[in-house]
C-alpha cells in the first residue's frame, strides 16, 4: 500500500493533490482564524461589529501614549490599546486582548519586545546564512534532474 502511494505512477497528480490540500487548509485557516481572531487593522474600520472578539498581535510599533493606554501602528492608522502598561514610543509590543470598540482594544496581556528590530535582523541574517551553508554542505548528496523535476541521490 505505502509502496503504491509513493510510487512514480501518477507522480505529478499525487504531488498536486498534496499541494492542493495544503492550499485548501490555508483557505480554511484564513476564514476560521479571521472570524475568531480578526486582523488588527480591521479594528480601525469594523471595531463595533468585532466588539468582544479576541485579538493577538506580534511586534507592533508603539506610536503614542494616552491616559488610558498607548497607540499602536497598523496599516489603517493607529489603534488604542487600553492597558496600564506604558511602553516607550518607538518600542515594539506583542499583546492579546479583546476589541472594545472602534480603534480600541482592551489588553489582557502585553509583552514589550525589547530590541525587536535589531534582534529580528540578526535572526533573519543567521537563518539565511544557515540555509545557504547547509545547502552548500549537502550539495554532494543530491543531483538535480530538471527535465524530470526530480532530486536524485548521488549514491
Amino acid at each position: 500500500m505505502m509502496r503504491r502511494i509513493f510510487s512514480d505512477r501518477f507522480r505529478l497528480l499525487k504531488m498536486g493533490s498534496g499541494a492542493f490540500v495544503f492550499v485548501l487548509l490555508c483557505q480554511h485557516a484564513r476564514s476560521q482564524f479571521g472570524a475568531l481572531h480578526p486582523d488588527l487593522s480591521r479594528v480601525t474600520v469594523f471595531g463595533e461589529s468585532l466588539k468582544g472578539m479576541t485579538i493577538h498581535a506580534q511586534a507592533r510599533l508603539v506610536v503614542g501614549h494616552a491616559p488610558d493606554g498607548f497607540d499602536l501602528e497598523t496599516r489603517a492608522g493607529p489603534v488604542r490599546i487600553l492597558s496600564p502598561e506604558r511602553p516607550r514610543v518607538g518600542e515594539f509590543v506583542s499583546f492579546t486582548g479583546r476589541v472594545a470598540g472602534e480603534r480600541r482594544i482592551e489588553a489582557a496581556g502585553v509583552q514589550v519586545n525589547e530590541g525587536w528590530a535589531w534582534k529580528r535582523a540578526v535572526n533573519y541574517a543567521v537563518s539565511v546564512a544557515t540555509v545557504l551553508v547547509f545547502l552548500w554542505l549537502i550539495r554532494g548528496q543530491f543531483r538535480t534532474s530538471l527535465s524530470e523535476g526530480l532530486f536524485r541521490s548521488r549514491f
Binding site: F6, G18, S94, T96, Q111, W116, K119, V122, N123, V131
Partner: protein
C-alpha cells in the same frame, strides 16, 4: 520564529542516529520547511497571518511534505517523506517552547482545533543567547557522530 540555526541544531540531535546521510539532510531540510514556507508566503505573496497557519500545523505539514516528497526519486521517496515530516514536526516542538506573549503557537491542530499552545521558556528573538547553545549542540553532535561512525566501521 526561532532562527533556523536553532532548528538545525535541534534536528542534528536525532540526525546523529541516522546512517543514511541523505535522510539526515532531509530531516534538517524538514526542520527548515515551516519557516521557509510561512516567510515565503508572507513576504512574497503578502499572505495574511491567518492564511499561513497551516505552515505550522500538523495536518498542513503532512500535506506539504507529501507533495514535496514527489520531488525526490522513487527509491528515497518514502524515507525522504518520513525525514521531511519528522524534521517539520521537530520544528513545531521547538516553536512550542517559545514565549509568544500569551497567544501561543496558533492552530497547531488546525483544522481540528484553533487553540494556541506555548510553554513560554525561550525568547525566540534572542539569537545572541541561543547562538552559543546552538554551537555547543552542533559541535557535540559532530563529535558523537564521528565516534558512532568509527564504532560502526
Amino acid at each position: 520564529m526561532a532562527d533556523l540555526l536553532t532548528h538545525l541544531a535541534s534536528a542534528r540531535i536525532p540526525g546523529i542516529f541516522l546512517r543514511d546521510r541523505r535522510v539526515q539532510a532531509l530531516l534538517v531540510l524538514g526542520s527548515f520547511l515551516p519557516d521557509i514556507v510561512s516567510k515565503g508566503l508572507y513576504h512574497v505573496t503578502r499572505s495574511s497571518d491567518n492564511f499561513i497557519v497551516p505552515s505550522h500545523s500538523v495536518t498542513g505539514l503532512l500535506a506539504l511534505c507529501f507533495a514535496l516528497s514527489f520531488l525526490l526519486e522513487e527509491r528515497i521517496r518514502r524515507p525522504g517523506f518520513g525525514a521531511l515530516l519528522a524534521g517539520a514536526y521537530l520544528h513545531l516542538a521547538v516553536d512550542l517552547l517559545k514565549d509568544q506573549g500569551g497567544a501561543g503557537l496558533l492552530g497547531v491542530f488546525h483544522p481540528f482545533s484553533p487553540a494556541g499552545f506555548q510553554l513560554g521558556l525561550v525568547d525566540p528573538e534572542n539569537v545572541i543567547l541561543l547562538l552559543p547553545i546552538d554551537a555547543a549542540i552542533l559541535v557535540g553532535a559532530w563529535l558523537l557522530e564521528r565516534r558512532l561512525r568509527r564504532v560502526r566501521q
